[in-house]
Assembly symmetry: D3
């Protein structure tokens, strides 16, 4: 039995709220149950130094957690004077996943920065971030198109992400914090709309996982991602 | 005429939403019009080194802005590797103001940290932070009392804060960003429930201000603070 | 009775020594009693990046304390790897105050940096810094004029600063360390030669201050600033 | 055709040289073709603060690259003042993988730190590091046993790691730099001696990968890891 | 001809002013011509962690330069966020030289920190610092003795330091900045009262120096150090 | 008797292995007995900002130690977030010594960076670094010449370095760690092929050293450097 009494293949309620704040070119609050992440997309017409004059744009991401997004207070990284390894790992993952569906040459010499800031954490913040970042990215690209800054749509796919894991011996979908902290295996999966893999990151926490367990986890992930993609589409169409 | 078409002595709508997030001992979203700050209070039973064994507690604050809380993106301080001067100045101000109404000995050996994170900025983030931080602090102290960790109530006053300034030659109350960026004088006032001053920080941006202008500004501030205090009380009673 | 046996409205001896060191375009040792601050002004013909090509100059300030300027040794900020919040707050204040009397367009594309380094501290280092920085700034501008680098004088006013506070229930002028560390209210006031306010920063340390106390403090500040301005004038004329 | 003319399922020559340096409790130079990493294991009887008094030990890893391990010089992280995101990601991965085969309670209150320093890089430095780190860890544990500091052997498994990827449309084993920089998909796999997964990290660089491609990659990885494990065993027995 | 018109073996005027500031246990302004360094000695009864409980004390030094001690402004190290290599090199040298004449066990569990802050620079700041630091150290030890904190005098020697160099082909004593910046060889010598070497640091700037040049430089250094030691003695006796 | 049973004037075995790694323009493993340092030379056609457009090149050095090059583990500087004073001192010394034999104008607008990374330490790492760096520098300059990037050879001399010291009252050559940690005096000498001094750094650790001791140490150093220079020549000719 899962702590949340969900069925093994049952997602938490997924919700995307667009235009959550007023300044950004894209601003989406994504909720996976109690996990809430604000994803904002910023369009700038300046590029990092190493990309200048190469006739292409860039999509990057930064990740942060409000200090009390978590059960006990997490020290503020700005105060500590550096981002931790977990933060860097996550923001590199988000940026990489987004770039997998963007034609950087078609984007032209714009940089889009997606900031994913966790307002409230209950497991799965990195997969919620990726899923919400995609919606914010869509809005930013639509903004560029409305302002006639792009010749063609640089977006050539849809992505979403979900965590799966083995909890108490059973493969389960969309782990919350109560499960995540005790899971024997934890896997984050990013897929595109064709059900192909963009990223796959599995970690054995308690014991190594077998090939048949991997297969079960991937099947769960595919189901979850399909549901998230529907929610993304509905949000984008509303 | 103010850009927002408000009367010179008219506040923006002030709103306090308690329990905005689920983990913190106090969690308040404060809104002054489009300015939105999440204030969370964390209670910990460990103290900074220099306070250990002195038979008293501590109240401190940290301040941050989400990168796209502002019209153009502000670089993340965690990425830059340090907090800027403005951030430090503001968080020192918030902490000092809160400590003015707390009996640190009555608090016992607890530390309460108030995190003020700006979700959306439209001027007045520091005064909104102080006003919201007070409500979060009340909730954290109530939490301590409910958990029977305090012998007596360490809170001996109420505080709120507002900005006033001279815009286009006219003293005005509660400056939004459009006014703040052009104001000739900008003043932040923190008062207690008796109308006494806790902090007074006035800066001549364009031209020096005269004594009679100061008097007009202080009168406006007093009016605004009285209104905020009513809103704080209503929120705390609800 | 004040620890120094001064009358409530009595300043410490104020002294400005110009050309205290030999390299800077302005170099002033300012003394408020035992508080001694070396203020040097550096003229450079390069500007911070965000100001380039805007047809104006810049005036900024940095503040530091020698480790043993204080009663017990203060850790060196260069060793700790960052400037503390108090330092940043003070140097921002000094820069802002100086810019209030400089026409940055008339300055042309020069940057003047005022370094205020506390050689010996006995309370009031920030107000002594501002008062001394003004004299160093005058010398730097005279240097620019002598070298025919300016078309018109960019200085359009005089500033000085003083601290006032409530000590043992009595409003007093120019707090030394013995008073400052016990004052119930501490206020720093920066004024121009017309008696108008440039900056006003009041903090209730022990108890909130009433409007009539504020009035008394402002009157004391005005008296003190008039005396400092005379000393500045005498120093500049000598 | 692979640039190195290897068959798709052909590893580079793998070599483990024990006792490569003289001071460490374990010191192994691992070579995967031209990729050379020095893995040293340090045993200390002090633990990180958060682990003290919990009756268990810790295994952790740090990763670095000599500046000219690479084709063009990489700036020294000590000079830049921080470790980059890639470094943190890799060292977290190495540490996690090693802990998967160590019973931390059986280790007692010792910390073993594995430093993986890349002397020469030609692709696959993280998987070479993990494979070499395992051998260094074995030597460190043997050292502890010889010195009668352990009651039982804390090591309960063997690990090795390999990279696989899709190069020019073909799944290939053990990518060198020429392949890695052009691969469409890149996957790092850590397995134990039972062929179970410890870590799985796949990234689509060029295009998303399908399920059948994943299956082919995992089969290659399993073959490669079996070969590395034989080389580890031979080195440990020599 | 030297720029200052001094004879090759002629020192600048050397002056030690004790009790230059009021808080430190030793406070000495040392002047070598236009080079002015404030050396303060701080006595604390706490030790660095690695020395605790070893029954001995510690003597250490820190070095800094006011930003405008130099002809053009030097960026403040506190602002840059770290001490430069030159600063570290100098402060390590000062500390090492002082420890050469202190019996650390006789000092007991006290730490004496000597801060050498350059108020005005004209070459030779490191040798002036060492020479002044010695006098400040004497005063700090006298302070400890007067306060009956020491059983025996931990000071067992006198040190002083001077720079020598080859300028325009001629060995000269006590280089000022005009000489230092053009010298072909620059050597700093620290000696004790018996004329023995504590430190010797010679650097060929323009061309390598021969053994006979070294001999000439050492003879000059010995002469200069004898003169500085006399000035130290006179200052300490006054 | 020396711990290593060497005669007082006996060097350890000195060995230079060129082309130790494959990417760098110069790559030399230098061994002084058990001390092993990898020196790589990188040629780049970009210069530090302050040198641009001055028609000359630059030679600089960086120094590092692998964490377990030493008997007990030394914390990684990249993890600590800064290079220590010892590291900075050494890398400044290496760079200065190399520049003494390079005509920077003849080098043209190239920068050569020599990285000296200690693989295994047993005393004398800085002198081994300098001696190995010279060989790597030669190879880098040969590389530039082969690639027809230089009009004339910018190298106008040969350098090598050795440590000497007083151990147990006896002047000895080439101290290993067992001697170095107990030596009363420690001196590092850099000479050119004419037996002239490039750098001389002597430190009295236990007691001050007399002039006759200095003479004995310099004689030993000259002998050692002659031997190292022969080994350098042989390596370069092979």
């Amino acid at each position: 039995m899962r702590p949340s009494e969900r069925a093994p293949d049952q997602m938490r309620t997924v919700k995307f709220t667009r235009n959550y704040t007023c300044h950004a070119e894209g601003s989406v609050l994504v909720e996976f149950g109690n996990t809430k992440v604000l994803c904002t997309a910023t369009v700038e017409d300046r590029l990092p130094g190493w990309l200048k004059g190469k006739g292409q744009g860039w999509v990057t991401a930064e990740y942060g957690m409000l200090p009390r997004a978590t059960g006990s207070r997490t020290a503020r990284e700005a105060t500590k004077g550096k981002q931790g390894g977990r933060t860097m790992e996550i923001q590199r993952l988000i940026g990489r996943a987004l770039r997998a569906v963007v034609d950087l040459e078609a984007l032209g010499e714009f940089q889009i920065t997606i900031d994913c800031d966790v307002i409230q954490a209950d497991g799965g913040t990195r997969t919620a971030s990726i899923s919400g970042a995609y919606v914010a990215l869509c809005d930013a690209i639509t903004w560029l198109q409305k302002n006639r800054r792009l010749k063609k749509n640089p977006l050539h796919g849809q992505i979403a992400a979900i965590s799966v894991g083995i909890f108490d011996g059973v493969p389960v979908l969309d782990l919350d914090y109560a499960e995540d902290s005790k899971a024997e295996t934890d896997m984050n999966v990013v897929m595109n709309e064709a059900g192909q893999f963009i990223e796959l990151q599995g970690t054995a926490e308690g014991h190594a996982f077998r090939r048949d367990e991997l297969d079960a986890l991937l099947a769960l992930a595919e189901k979850g991602i399909r549901e998230i993609m529907q929610a993304q589409q509905q949000a984008l169409e509303s």
